[in-house]
Symmetry: C2
């Protein structure tokens, strides 16, 4: 299987797959002409990576998860630890974004959005406390 077929199979762009090789996440074999060839196992790994990245895991986490996946003597607690840490980061981000969302929603609702300069959004940003 060539890289572009892989790309469509896994949903990852070919560029990304090459990048994953470059940083040592995967080690696809090469055929005589120098083209990358992907075995079934390699395809599985790419699928795994695609799903892990889609869940927001960092490349470093992906590396660890991949190693754990391939380690049959792993402890599931190690996997869970990574996932739990990632989950709490996500929850922190959601909290941050939700705070921004609340403020912005409020401001956007309050602003008349007409052709006059008067604007509660700018007032807030400039520190004119209208809260």
């Amino acid at each position: 299987m060539n890289i572009s077929q892989d790309a469509t199979a896994t949903g990852l762009p070919a560029k990304t797959i090459r990048y994953y090789e470059e940083i040592g996440l995967i080690r696809p074999e090469r055929s005589d002409n120098g083209y990358r060839t992907f075995t079934q196992t390699a395809l599985h790994q790419l699928h795994f990576l695609a799903r892990a990245r889609a869940l927001g895991f960092s490349i470093d986490d992906c590396r660890s998860l991949l190693m754990l996946w391939e380690d049959r003597s792993r402890a599931s607690s190690d996997v869970r630890k990574i996932a739990a840490a990632h989950l709490s980061e996500i929850e922190a981000k959601i909290a941050d974004l939700t705070a921004m969302q609340n403020t912005l929603k409020n401001l956007v609702q309050t602003c008349h959005g007409n052709d006059r300069p008067d604007c509660p959004i700018l007032n807030t940003l400039s520190g004119v406390s209208s809260d």
Copy 2:
């Protein structure tokens, strides 16, 4: 006022303030020794930027907002447009993250997290559909 006093006043690191000058967001004056000096106006701008960045606006948005702020003949609709666009990006991000959160929460709850290899997190990532 020197840059580090500014930094503590606005909460922005000195490095960031220099960076803002480098990219043309602000134009602090210089005293004879080459040090940046910040007028009251410049300080206001920095505060403005700090608040806008804290609300997640991109540097480009900040640039536009700053220009609008200083433009007395602005239309508040232009400000609102920027804020509304940003708000919907934030909402999209929250939606993405919440989806991840739900999946991860579920997986973390399901995983025993012990010393055995059996792990629903890895199962899901590897495509063993347990959903």
